[in-house]
Symmetry: none
Subunit: 231 residues, 2 copies
Amino acid sequence: MAENIGMTARAMMNMALDKLRVVAPRENPRGEKACSAASGAHSILEEARVFATLDEALADVHYVLASSARPRDMTKPVLSPDEAPERLLTHLKNGEKTALLFGPERTGLENHELVAADGIIEIPLNPKHRSLNLSQAVLLIGYEFFKATHGADFHHACLETGQAQPADKQSVKALLTHLEDALAQRNYFRFPDKEERMRRNLENIFTRNALTASEVKTLHGVITDLTRPLP
Amino acid sequence: MAENIGMTARAMMNMALDKLRVVAPRENPRGEKACSAASGAHSILEEARVFATLDEALADVHYVLASSARPRDMTKPVLSPDEAPERLLTHLKNGEKTALLFGPERTGLENHELVAADGIIEIPLNPKHRSLNLSQAVLLIGYEFFKATHGADFHHACLETGQAQPADKQSVKALLTHLEDALAQRNYFRFPDKEERMRRNLENIFTRNALTASEVKTLHGVITDLTRPLP
């Protein structure tokens, strides 16, 4: 269906995958419906290749991994989505053509189609609710490939937090109210156009470092004492 | 919007997350539209709690991670989706209430809302196409939590034999003997200096893909039938 093809193109674009082959589509993968669902990923649809059969689509491909629940009556290597990229990229580096294979929206891939794959990628899902849209399967598997190929660009620094009894949000909020009210009374927010940012900056200081319950108590005391008139 | 809430419930169900809090929804999160989009995840909507403000929704929560692109003008720990579960689960094991915070469909979380979070989860995405649906963000982050908590149930010997018994080496060897003897009788190994390599190549074909016992039986039948004279 055109909408599923469009949403798949969009998920591919999110994950920097760009070569789409469509097998026996029911509707035009470059029509208006598909393009509208693709929102921003038109180029993938424009360059998509359409084939009448799966065999034709895979004719020049050397290594194929298919997204599917593990088949019961077939012997295939089964990989998790995070194991798949390394496996496929090894073949890619050998100069092979590689492909990820997804089934249609409702039925998924049939056994006679899975036969064409060198392995299965099984997405871990709640056994009580395993139904995923086509484009969601593309998104999740594409995500693991994007992590494997571009993950280094997204390096994440972590700030470490303490071990003591943490304050809950309610008491942090009360502390901030205490502080900001006291400051407001003292004309701290004297520039109206800066007030919102000044408040936000203050709030950030006290939320980002995981205050403990006893630190909150301490800070209430600090504010109270600071706002006492000098003797 | 009701449809986004329903699709979010569905993504949560896929990833075995079940406690939903909705802040200031524009439409009824338990109405017909939401339930229809949730297809199969009604229970999450039925048990969802609705709050007028974010502060109220987070009042009893100790630790919050917000899904967002990293904010430019704010100092917050930024985690990748695969770093987030360990961090959050540590707090959970301490007996704290924890939450994942997602923004509305189009705008995402505003800075004054991000302030409430102890950290940011940034999903790695193609910088040229970063737009994700709300339910897709829930799906991707939920997926990493599902992997972290249920991943062990899902695998992964690289080979899934299903119900089938793998063939032992002895029966593979017997199959190869059957094949090579049949070929030898038909003068297949007619060049003595190549015979060893030809045998080795054949053996490789049938040993590297972990045949099952019943596949070995099938191949015996194939050889037998192939070597039968034509009627």
